[in-house]
């Protein structure tokens, strides 16, 4: 109750538990201390490492410019926490307010933040996934193992899946002079996140840099030799690729299994929470003591019709962590909504790709600056007459302008018809996103709810 001193007590002597010791968990812990939380803070992480930064794992580390075990996140302030690392949480008792750990311990809480994130989706065939030379890339240990193998100079690397991570891996391999084949089920790299118009540019980039890019194919089987090392992959078009390193880059799965049966609204699509990061229970009633942040959360976003979005973005983890921390320690009228415009970046084949908004929700694209041919451009995405996203290839400095168009729900096509005064390219065209009912691992924004305005619910495959 406001004014009854309970918040003051929480601040002074409460127990806050954070499950998930990565970017969102660490930034939330720092924000809690910055806001004057003096009680006990427990950080639970399944990996035996202190919080580290993931973006370098598919870039600097694979290029040999940084070591995977030297990627710990900088500390912005002391968090004075009890760390339980290397022990995953295995259950939640909402009534007793306790988190169960895999080693049998139980940790009581007054407020709980769940930031368990996602994990790499493994190769579906278990025996093939266990072949020596088959990798996924998500964790520090994954990256260290892959970097070691690349150092050894494999004869050919096969990357399965040309989303952002797969494309960055292929880019790093080519920069190191390694022969690379990329197999992508969709029509082009990055097609799920950015559509076919931009995807075709990504495809040209890959081929120009010597990637053997195969689109519209699936890998049907991995084949090992007698000593259990992967030697080849069989593709759906009947061809065979001989490769001694295979990287499975098929997107991610949300880490919510440990919450099964707890009564929390958690499942394969993530943990449903309100715009203030408070988690829903399975009855659709919002809890007031359990919060979610980062890749594992899905929440309604005001800019996108309050549809539930899951965002696997670095910036989203940071901003949701701060919102959750603030709201945990605030009276209801002082709470803040998570309103940040989604944004992400990727560097591959020498090009800086950045995006704002939600391109994957768009249906049309307008190349408003630069040109696709030069691979330096800004593409603006439109949905039902408004600007909903933008992507820049080596044009990052313009993105704040487009972010403002998205924030102000500017009309699409935008009111200007020409930004850099060159002929052509200023008419909106179909952005060419794949059929949403076809599973894709590509989008970094997943629509994981449905709009009340829709007449019927359609199934949107989640990660």
């Amino acid at each position: 109750m406001p004014g009854d001193g309970s918040l003051e007590r929480l601040r002074r002597e409460g127990r806050i538990v954070v499950v998930g010791a990565s970017l969102a968990g660490l930034r939330a812990a720092e924000a809690l201390r910055a806001k004057g939380f003096e009680g006990s803070l427990t950080m639970i992480g399944d990996e035996p490492h202190e919080p580290y930064d993931r973006p370098p794992l598919s870039k600097q580390v694979l290029l040999g410019r940084a070591a995977a075990d030297r990627t710990a996140l900088p500390r912005l302030r002391p968090v004075d926490a009890t760390w339980r690392l290397g022990v995953p949480a295995s259950g939640l008792d909402m009534a007793a307010r306790r988190v169960r750990l895999a080693d049998g311990d139980e940790v009581p809480y007054d407020r709980l933040l769940i930031a368990t994130g996602v994990r790499a989706r493994p190769w579906p065939h278990e025996a093939e996934a266990e072949l020596d030379g088959v990798f996924v890339l998500r964790t520090r240990d994954d990256s260290a193992a892959l970097a070691r193998r690349l150092d050894a100079g494999p004869k050919r690397v096969l990357v399965i899946g040309a989303g952002f991570t797969g494309s960055e891996i292929a880019s790093a391999c080519r920069e190191r002079g390694l022969p690379v084949t990329v197999a992508e089920r969709g029509s082009a790299p990055l097609v799920g996140a950015l559509g076919g118009v931009v995807g075709s540019v990504a495809a040209e980039l890959q081929r120009e840099h010597g990637v053997d890019l195969r689109c519209g194919v699936m890998v049907t089987a991995l084949e090992g030799d007698t000593s259990g090392r992967v030697r080849a992959a069989h593709l759906s078009d009947g061809s065979t690729v001989e490769a001694d390193v295979v990287i499975v880059s098929l997107g991610a799965t949300r880490n919510t299994e440990w919450l099964a049966g707890s009564g929390l609204g958690a499942g394969p699509r993530g943990i449903a929470c309100d715009a203030g990061c408070r988690a829903f229970d399975i009855r659709g009633i919002v809890t007031d003591d359990i919060y979610a942040a980062g890749d594992v959360a899905r929440s309604p976003h005001a800019l996108f019709g309050y549809q539930f979005l899951s965002l696997e973005h670095w910036g989203n983890a940071v901003s949701q962590a701060r919102i959750a921390a603030h709201n945990m320690l605030s009276e209801s009228t002082d709470r803040l909504p998570h309103m940040e415009v989604p944004a992400f970046w990727s560097a591959q084949f020498g090009v800086n790709i950045k995006s704002v908004g939600a391109p994957s929700l768009g249906t049309e694209i307008l190349i408003s600056q630069g040109s696709l041919q030069e691979r330096r451009f800004v593409g603006v995405y439109g949905y039902q007459g408004r600007v909903i996203g933008a992507v820049a290839f080596d044009h990052a400095r313009w993105l704040p302008f487009y972010r403002e168009l998205i924030e102000t729900t500017a009309s699409f096509p935008p009111p200007f018809d020409n930004v850099d005064r060159r002929p052509g390219g200023q008419r909106p065209i179909d952005a060419d996103f794949p059929d949403p009912s076809v599973p894709t691992h590509g989008p970094t924004v997943t629509l994981s709810g449905y709009s009340p305005a829709d007449r019927r619910m359609t199934f949107t495959p989640a990660h």
Binding site: E47, P48, H49, E50, D53, P55, P56, K59, Q60, L63, R65, A66, A67, R70, T71, A72, L73, P74, R75, L76, R77, P78, V79, D80, A81, W83, R84, L85, G86, V87, D103, W314, G315, V318, A343, F344, W345, A347, G350, V351, N352, K354, D394, A396, R397
Partner: protein, 79 residues
Amino acid sequence: MVRLAVDLNRCQGYAQCAFLAPDVFAMHGDEALLYAPEADESQRARLAQAAAACPVQAVLVDAVDVPADVPDEAVSGAR
């Protein structure tokens, strides 16, 4: 040891950091930035300069010397 991270959503490729601390930051292509997530102690002053000079304040550097709150046993206590 100094840990750092760059908020590459903010970064707009001004490259001030690459001039001020070239052993830590390097441009990769026209716009993309690569950095060493952990730098030697000898880089601390240059890093502070780079962080201060960044026009969009995208460079995050350790504000805490050593994370004294992560005891070794917690890290090595993994199963």
